[in-house]
Symmetry: C2
Subunit: 327 residues, 2 copies
């Protein structure tokens, strides 16, 4: 990698002049500019971002902290973030937190050490010390707390819709799979579902779970049908869990949706590939990622922000694990 000094020498000017043409500020004579540009091209020069970052005390790097990229919901989020960021020449430092406080602080630490100018995080602890007083903008993605900048979907409404659609389609004995208690969207959905079920007077059961992992979900699916064999409607905590439930139901010889209806959350790509395809509450993950990136950019650039809180509407996607109903 050529340095600014080499370019300067090649062009017969000082480094300051090279810097000026690179950054297009300050006066520089047309002829010198051309000489410098030639030298730059000649030497294939690109500025060292590290030196730049050191001087300006800020980089073009943004930290992204996701619980687990292996969970099919997050790649979409990540992709949205990345696409938007790269349009503005920002780069991403990425880490999986595994919902571990320790990993989270470690990553935040190194983000800071690398002069990142902002962080986007799907944390379960937005109120933790490590975020307050970070010194750089933070956007919570798929999470929210008070009036911190955040991009998320309306989980509570999602829960309500899920319950309502099941009831509307004839389920009278619903089981709600309650996701991890420390994951905010999971609880929102749960409370939304309970709310709708209570107000419609539908009887329901609750099965508590502690993660969204594929393998564990299979266990819960079994437990569900063991403990609540009469369920005729199941609100899963997300699509992964719903898939496991669907598989177990079919394995048990239940007809879906005739005997039991199943509904998930997120609308991950897998959902439409299942047979029967999964009815679910859609969240615009890719869009949300983009929006989070957009928000952090505006925050970084100190632009006026109309709303730091961006809530997306959710939408019921009717597929084959719920019954048809007259419209």
């Amino acid at each position: 990698m050529a340095t600014i000094k080499e370019v300067a020498k090649a062009a017969g000017v000082s480094v300051a002049t090279v810097s000026r043409v690179m950054n297009q500020n300050g006066y520089v004579h047309e002829d010198t500019r051309r000489k410098v540009e030639d030298a730059i091209r000649e030497l294939n020069y690109t500025p060292n971002e590290v030196a730049r970052s050191l001087y300006k005390r800020k980089s073009k790097l943004i930290g992204l902290l996701l619980p687990d990229i292996t969970n099919p919901y997050f790649p979409q989020l990540a992709r949205g973030v990345e696409d938007r960021l790269q349009e503005q020449d920002f780069r991403l430092i990425f880490g999986n937190s595994d919902e571990s406080r320790q990993k989270e602080t470690d990553y935040l630490q190194t983000f800071l050490q690398n002069n990142v100018v902002g962080v986007i995080s799907s944390t379960n602890a937005p109120d933790h010390d490590m975020y307050t007083g970070l010194g750089i903008p933070v956007v919570f993605l798929d999470r929210t707390l008070n009036d911190n900048p955040a991009v998320y979907a309306d989980g509570r409404e999602g829960g309500r819709q899920a319950a309502t659609e099941l009831v509307k389609r004839g389920s009278t004995n619903i089981t709600i799979i309650q996701g991890p208690a420390d994951v905010r969207p999971a609880m929102d959905r749960f409370h939304g579902a309970v709310e709708a079920l209570e107000s419609s007077g539908t009887s329901y059961e609750v099965l508590k779970t502690t993660s969204f992992s594929f393998t564990e979900a299979e266990g819960w699916a079994k437990e569900l049908f063991r403990r609540y064999p009469d369920s005729d409607g199941i609100i899963a905590s997300n699509d992964i869990v719903a898939s496991a439930v669907l598989q177990e139901a079919v394995g048990l010889g239940r007809r879906v949706p005739q005997d039991v209806q199943i509904i998930g959350f997120d609308d991950i790509p897998l959902s439409r590939l299942l047979i029967p395809s999964l009815s679910t509450i859609h969240q615009p993950a890719y869009e949300m990622g983009r929006e989070a990136a957009d928000l952090i950019i505006r925050l970084i650039e100190g632009q006026y922000i109309e709303s730091r809180h961006i809530q997306y509407a959710v939408e019921f996607i009717e597929r084959q694990t719920t019954r048809k109903v007259e419209s």
Copy 2:
């Protein structure tokens, strides 16, 4: 963020001394060390990686270039990479290339500008100029070329196995879905399958495709059954495409696996959740990611490398889209 200078002042020593205790090199008196350590703790000091990186002309950053994190195969790879790297305190700068040469060079460029010490890439153009003479170690992941450091699975053998297992289970009229021509593993699989089919004298058709995307796959699935309605065995280019084929087959009223057997590649998590669950050729993606990270670390540290070429064996995973056979 406190600086080394502030720590030095607080401890009543010079920055050199602070640096010595930080890096545990050079002599430093037990008492001074303690003073410095106290000051460090007091001020919550962590060294600025940017300044470090500038001076040493290398960072703790590694670039990871994947085609598309949204394709369910890649998150596993990425996770393996990340897990291993973070054990050694390396961080990841991540980008999606979309198989675009332009994006790829752009990312590589900025990786370099950020002093990354190594790159892990799933590129289709390992022989491209941008990689030769990058100046830092590169590991190709899920790709390979000549004797460049690479971690990949035995695609050809995978193709052979897929074909062999189908034939062994009675398919006599197989259709191979040929993946994108510029994606090496796709072609390896294809050639492997053709090889096995030829040598067993089984008749087969080929359907060419150009991507692995969910949505396009649905189109190809339709085309497949339109053009080759008599297929009784289908070798998909990967699990995504296999899922689309499975869905289409079921939609058309074909019984799987009685009327038509289907086999995929990769063994992404989705595969076991399908109903019927998908028989496939397994690749140890997470392990491969870890191994790639391990290899790049060894390369960076200049360790002796026994083999720069790490090929993983593949394995047939028998599930429900292939028939049972006497053992």
